[in-house]
């Protein structure tokens, strides 16, 4: 690396040295007719260029590969009932098939059946009831298609699957969680999409006494904007 770096530096020094040696050689010839008869006799130059060069600027094509939105739905926290959840999502579409997506969401757990029967038992504290997660996912559009509403309307759709991982914070502890999901994206316009998702967040916990993997399945409805 050192040799390579010194090579680069040496090359840069040489180039600048050469440029210095050749300075002024390619100076553009002065425009106008100075030194000709016009200037000598004190007359105005015969041709006065008045046309400025027109700068043609090609309009850029706007790319709409990013998707940003919010979702809400129900999250079933294993052993703690089903509760509302809301979150935000952002995606980047790499190709027509592959996208990368990030999620962040929050829910609050209910009580366990055990706690319903024996109210004095506390499995998680009140602050620990908060269930938050973040995920980074890779998604694949498996089944692109169209859906029809009545006779005259068609919407483009994608049935996609996502897999990823992230952090679930529950019972005041951060746990490593994997997630698997299937979803459907319905493009209401080219800019606005509606999402219906089912995703499972799997992580290991010992909250109820023994260590086990818990499945926390969410069903959500979301809206996103492409930009």
């Amino acid at each position: 690396m050192e040799i390579r770096l010194s090579c680069v530096l040496l090359a840069a020094a040489l180039t600048s040295g050469c440029a210095w040696l050749h300075r002024g050689e390619h100076r553009p010839a002065p425009v106008g007719v100075e030194g000709s008869s016009g200037e000598a006799s004190g007359e105005a130059p015969i041709i006065e260029p008045q046309v400025t060069r027109r700068v043609v600027k090609t309009p850029k094509i706007k790319a709409t590969d990013f998707e940003l939105g919010a979702y809400f739905g129900a999250l079933s926290i294993q052993d703690f009932g089903t509760n509302p959840i809301y979150g935000a999502r952002a995606a980047y579409h790499v190709t027509e098939d592959i996208f990368m997506e990030g999620f962040i969401a929050r829910s609050t757990a209910g009580t366990t059946s055990l706690q319903d029967v024996f109210p004095s038992i506390t499995v998680v504290s009140n602050s620990g009831r908060r269930f938050t997660y973040y995920d980074v996912d890779v998604g694949y559009n498996i089944l692109p298609g169209e859906v029809f509403l009545g006779r005259g309307r068609a919407f483009n759709t994608d049935l996609y699957t996502t897999v990823g991982m992230g952090d679930v914070k529950f019972a005041d502890k951060d746990q490593f969680a994997l997630n698997f999901g299937v979803g459907m994206r319905i493009l209401l316009t080219d800019w606005v999409a509606m999402h219906m998702d089912v995703r499972d967040h799997v992580f290991e916990t010992d909250l109820t006494g023994r260590t086990k993997n818990v499945d926390n399945i969410e069903g959500t409805l979301g809206f996103t904007v492409f930009y």
């Binding site: 043609v56 094509i61 709409t64 590969d65 190709t95 483009n156 951060d174 490593f176």
Partner: protein, 244 residues
């Protein structure tokens, strides 16, 4: 109502301003025998309209490898990058479709991945800026999940790619520094919750498709503690990234 008047005027001004500021749209001339327009931005969507040679299309926007175009009579549909690349500008110049960033000379990289840090699961995300073709500055944030504690780590480092021209597999080496925050899951609390650290890394990167790439990294850390010995955990990780 009078109170609302300024608001209405402001809104109107914004709308008019936006309309005036509307950018000129790109028009391209179809020089191939025909240009197919599909109902959606994907290879499976049906072709519903064809623009003939000599006609002009207006390019509205793109999504991945597909371009939304408007035909002379107002029909709008999606055409592929390869098809649109065959059209020309009015001056005869080739269509100004931005080329894919070259993998060997790309500037930015953003990615995420999975790894194992000191036998703990690790979630990692990073952003990487190329100082030269072979030297990158990388910023990494990661979270390690252990049975006894969780660690949040942020690092800043330099990475050298030996042969950036090798697309499918190119080895890398790196060095950097950072900070680790430790959070106990079970008592007792750790002696120190925040530590500075340094690392050396060995890795590899490779091109997958379009803007998509993979990266593998192995790191050996030195975590500076106030105890008699420093900690020296190791880590490996695999990530996927997009480059620009």
């Amino acid at each position: 109502m009078p109170r609302l008047l300024p608001l209405v005027l402001l809104l109107q001004a914004i709308l008019v301003g936006r309309a005036l500021a509307a950018k000129p749209q790109l028009q391209l001339l179809v020089t191939q025998p025909f240009l197919q327009m599909r109902t959606g931005p994907g290879r499976g969507y049906p072709v519903f309209y064809v623009v003939g040679r000599g006609e002009k299309v207006t390019v509205l926007y793109s999504r991945t490898d597909w371009y939304k175009v408007r035909a002379p009579r107002g029909e709008e549909g999606w055409t592929s990058r390869a098809d649109l690349a065959q059209t020309t500008q009015a001056s005869g110049a080739p269509a100004p479709i931005p080329p894919y960033p070259d993998f060997a000379t790309h500037r930015w990289e953003i990615g995420a991945g999975y790894g194992v840090y000191n036998r703990q699961n690790l979630v990692t995300a990073y952003a990487d800026f190329a100082l030269t073709d072979s030297l990158d500055a990388e910023f990494v944030v990661q979270q390690a999940f252990g049975t006894l504690d969780n660690r949040e780590i942020a690092t800043l480092g330099l990475r050298h790619t030996f042969i950036p021209e090798w697309r499918r597999f190119s080895p890398t080496v790196g060095i950097g520094t950072g900070y680790q925050y430790t959070q106990a899951k079970v008592p007792p609390n750790p002696l120190e919750t925040g530590n500075q650290l340094a690392y050396v890394s060995l890795g590899a990167r490779g091109f997958i498709t379009r803007r998509f790439m993979w990266r593998f990294d192995w790191r050996s850390y030195v975590i500076f503690t106030k105890q008699n010995a420093n900690q020296e955990p190791q880590e490996w990780k695999f990530g996927l990234a997009v480059f620009f």
